[in-house]
């Protein structure tokens, strides 16, 4: 008997599985997967500017830094200013989905590919952002490699204000509506990587980025 | 109203004055108090040690002794919780169906002392006039299973010369745990040390609580720590004390 049969067999026996209750059980599974019910959720404002305000507040609490531009075309210049302020090189790996932006015009040498270990700065967009916890939702795709937000020490993300949703359930709803099937990697990112393993003292910058900089796009 | 007092084995053995104080308080609240003479122990040590049969035998005894009373009052959160919430579980087998029903019927009439005095008897004027500073230890079963928190404080608040100083981590376990204290004495004593340190840090003259098991544990630890002056009293004693 395979391990699969052995394990499932014992579970079935312990649940007193028979044909009749299997029918009921499968119906319950279908009901759960169809309803996809939400549980209790804390109140999050739904009005646009309050939503953006909550996102700002929460992502700051997660130690991300924030900037704001009117439209996406203003983003490269804002990012160049940020990198210069922090004395970081004007070199970045950018998500290929952002290849069309005018990085060169802002003085940034941008490589549109997956990240390598030598890349110090990674620039991505995001699928959406969650106000409740100040979280980015990044979905992998051929033109959105997951490494760009992972390997470099500095991760910069463009966050359109119109893509800020209240909670994770709303992020899933958006993904279902726009993407259909789930991408290979959905990463919810809330600030720089951190660890508290040594003496329960939180230190930013474990294996992922040391710093996360969010450029909100107001889409005015 | 007529109430029956379940005095508890620890009070019976170690501090009868707590039993008499409970009677005095109940009478001050206008109750007529009966004390069924054959009572011994609620059986909690047996249940917590895993001896289902012994626990069931004692449960049946207590149910038979007390189910005739309109109210059963207990000067202990853990014993009141045991009778109220555990008896139905102890007597849950098919063979015990009738006893289960009797346990459930009794449960709703079982009260911890301070809860009864505040929420049922509505005692307004206390027979004592204790003076001094006190701190209150919230016993685990009373707090987490019966919701005993405000009631003792409300009663202490009625004594004009009592100053209540809350200790840090009042709601944390004192380390008694019944049989735990005689099985893992070193761990138990270490937990008790923390409780004593927190209690004494308030500067209160008296450590007060509603469960004698906790109080004996705390008092024993204090004396071993060299503290001979901090008093440890059951709330019933404090509420009837004449000075």
């Amino acid at each position: 008997m395979s391990s699969r049969e052995d394990i499932l067999g014992r579970v079935r026996a312990r649940l007193k599985r028979n044909e009749a209750n299997a029918v009921i059980g499968r119906a319950d599974i279908n009901a759960a997967l169809t309803a996809r019910a939400h549980g209790p959720r804390p109140a999050v404002p739904t009005e646009k500017s309050a939503l953006a305000g909550r996102f700002r507040e929460k992502s700051t609490a997660q130690s991300s830094t924030l900037d704001s531009v009117a439209t996406i075309t203003d983003a490269p210049a804002a990012i160049a200013r940020y990198l210069t302020e922090l004395k970081l090189p004007l070199h970045a790996v950018v998500s290929p989905s952002l290849a069309r932006q005018n990085w060169q015009g802002a003085g940034i040498k941008a490589a549109a590919r997956g990240a390598q270990d030598t890349d110090l700065v990674g620039i991505t967009d995001c699928f959406c952002a969650i106000a409740e916890t100040g979280t980015l939702m990044l979905c992998s795709a051929p033109d959105r490699p997951a490494t760009v937000s992972l390997l470099p020490e500095t991760h910069i993300a463009l966050v359109p204000a119109s893509r800020i949703v209240p909670g994770m359930e709303d992020a899933w709803a958006l993904a279902r509506a726009e993407l259909g099937t789930l991408p290979r990697a959905v990463n919810f990112i809330s600030g720089p990587s951190r660890t508290g393993d040594i003496e329960q003292t939180i230190v930013l910058g474990a294996h992922g980025p040391y710093r996360v900089h969010l450029v909100m796009i107001e889409d005015l | 109203m007529r109430v029956a007092l379940f005095v508890t084995c620890l009070v019976d053995l170690m501090r009868p004055r707590i039993g008499f104080a409970a009677i005095e308080l109940l009478e001050a609240a206008g109750c007529e108090v009966e004390v069924p003479a054959s009572q011994t122990c609620c059986g909690q040590p047996a249940w917590n040690s895993g001896d289902h049969a012994a626990a069931a035998a004692l449960a049946k005894k207590v149910i038979a002794e007390f189910e005739g009373s309109a109210y059963v009052v207990v000067p202990s959160g853990s014993c009141a919780d045991h009778i109220r919430n555990e008896y139905p579980k102890i007597l849950s087998s098919d063979a015990d169906a009738e006893w289960h029903a009797r346990a459930v019927a009794l449960a709703s009439r079982v009260y911890e002392l301070t809860d009864f005095l505040v929420n049922v008897a509505h005692l307004e004027t206390l027979p004592g006039k204790f003076a001094g500073s006190v701190t209150y230890h919230d016993s685990c079963a009373g707090l987490r299973s019966l919701g005993i928190k405000d009631q003792p404080r409300a009663l202490l608040g009625k004594l004009p010369d009592v100053e209540l100083k809350e200790m840090k981590a009042a709601e944390e376990c004192c380390g008694f745990g019944g049989t735990f204290s005689v099985k893992f004495g070193d761990i138990s004593a270490a937990i008790a040390a923390r409780k004593c340190t927190n209690a004494c840090a308030t500067g209160a003259q008296v450590i007060v609580g509603g469960d004698l098991g906790c109080l004996l544990n705390i008092e024993g630890k204090l004396r071993r720590m060299g503290d001979q002056t901090t008093r440890v009293m059951h709330i019933a004693e404090v509420l009837v004390a004449k000075e």
Binding site: S2, S3, I7, R14, R17, D28, I29, A32, H38, P40, P42, Q62, D117, T133, T135, P145, A146, L150, L182, R184, A185, V186, N187, F188, P192, S193, T195, D197, I198, Q200, V203, G205, A206, H207, G208 | C9, L13, M14, A37, T40, P45, N48, G50, D51, A54, A57, C140, E172, C173, V182, K183, F184, G185, D186, I187, S188, I191, G220, R223, R224
Partner: protein, 470 residues
Amino acid sequence: METRARHFKANAAAALANPVLQANLKTSKSKFVDKRAIAIQELDDFEGTREAAKNIRDRVLNNLDLWLEKFEETATARGATVLWAKDSAEICRHVVDIGRRHNVKKAAKSKSMLSEEASLNRALEAAGIQPVETDLGEYILQINDNEAPSHIIAPVVHKSLDEVADLFHATHKTPRKTEISALTREAREVLRPHFLSADMGISGGNFLVAETGSVALVTNEGNGRMVTTLPRVHVVITGIEKVIPTLEDLALLMRLLPRSATGQSISNYVSVLTGVKQPEESDGPEHLYFILVDNGRADVVGSEFHDMLRCIRCGACMNHCPVYQTIGGHAYGWVYPGPMGAILTPLYTGLENAIDLPHASTLCNQCGVVCPVKIPLPELLRKLREKQVDGNLRPLFERLALKAWAWVAGYPMLYGMATWFGVRYLKWLADGKSSIPILGAAPEWSVGRNFPAPEGKTFREMYAKKKGKQ
């Protein structure tokens, strides 16, 4: 991992006598407990959220076989291979097979408690595959001669900064650092090349989402993302009880897990991984394996301990346990410490191998009120005690003493006589003082405390006398 739970008392005594451990336990208690209390205030309805979480878990456990089949179906449809392991040996066999099949020389691991259960690293090394722990705490343990973790979320809560600094200095042959941020940076630099060169990534699975065939990984360091993005092969090892129905259920559980564990509103990274790298993608594993593990879990389904399977491994119970706070995790002797460990260790490694664990509790229920999925932990501990009595596993003296007490308590007159003598004897032992320093009949009590003297008469005798006078 071999269990040392049999040596609980000795291990606990050693823990009590260890000043570094005691200091670290004090600090970690204040951090975990206080931060959690603040974080759950962010939820408008903590109790309602807990109830919903309990229901999500129960829904799956009550039809676990069907949900497992569903997960297997959806995961396989996305290109994953689903394997099943009855026990530790089979986990190791599967992983080594996968390693051989894909020519794996190095495996980078993010945290997996199942791999601790199975002592997987030893099996990998024996098969010529180099395992590298990448969770900072687990890495520290690995370089310290594969020391066992002492907490499921904070594996080196028992270690001080100095101990870690010494360890890094000795192992990495670098200058000794004195600050935590410097040590963390050093770990980052040491482990980065391993991430980049690992052929296989091994992770646990916080949750398996049946709807989509996904695994959800809840991490802070980024190592979970590293080991599941860079290597060609990804192996997920997790228990069969980890299935949840939908992505929405994940959202709800994510409100409770990080808050209960570390007091964070959300963990830094929540990765929901589904299937293998697509042809046009540039990162992600080409091969994805799920190893669904039994190792004692199947036999708990439908038993009186069924509720324990709801556990989402947050660690809140141990953080709030007065016993854990006093002795730390190693004393429990196996992978899981604290209240959940005191229940799982006997269930998964044998009742007779962990006799003390269910008794090393005051049943205070500080754990039960914080458990995000409302497991009645003290009740389960008590049931284990009952199983020990039924299985004749308790010491003879204890069984006789209890039986004697209960028997006498059934006979009021006899009880009255016994207690009449008893209190007078104790009063005599007190010799006029307010407490008895050493009570011979209860040596454990007397280890750290005096025994207060009784009044000297029983209530029943005094009351009877009073009534007689009236």
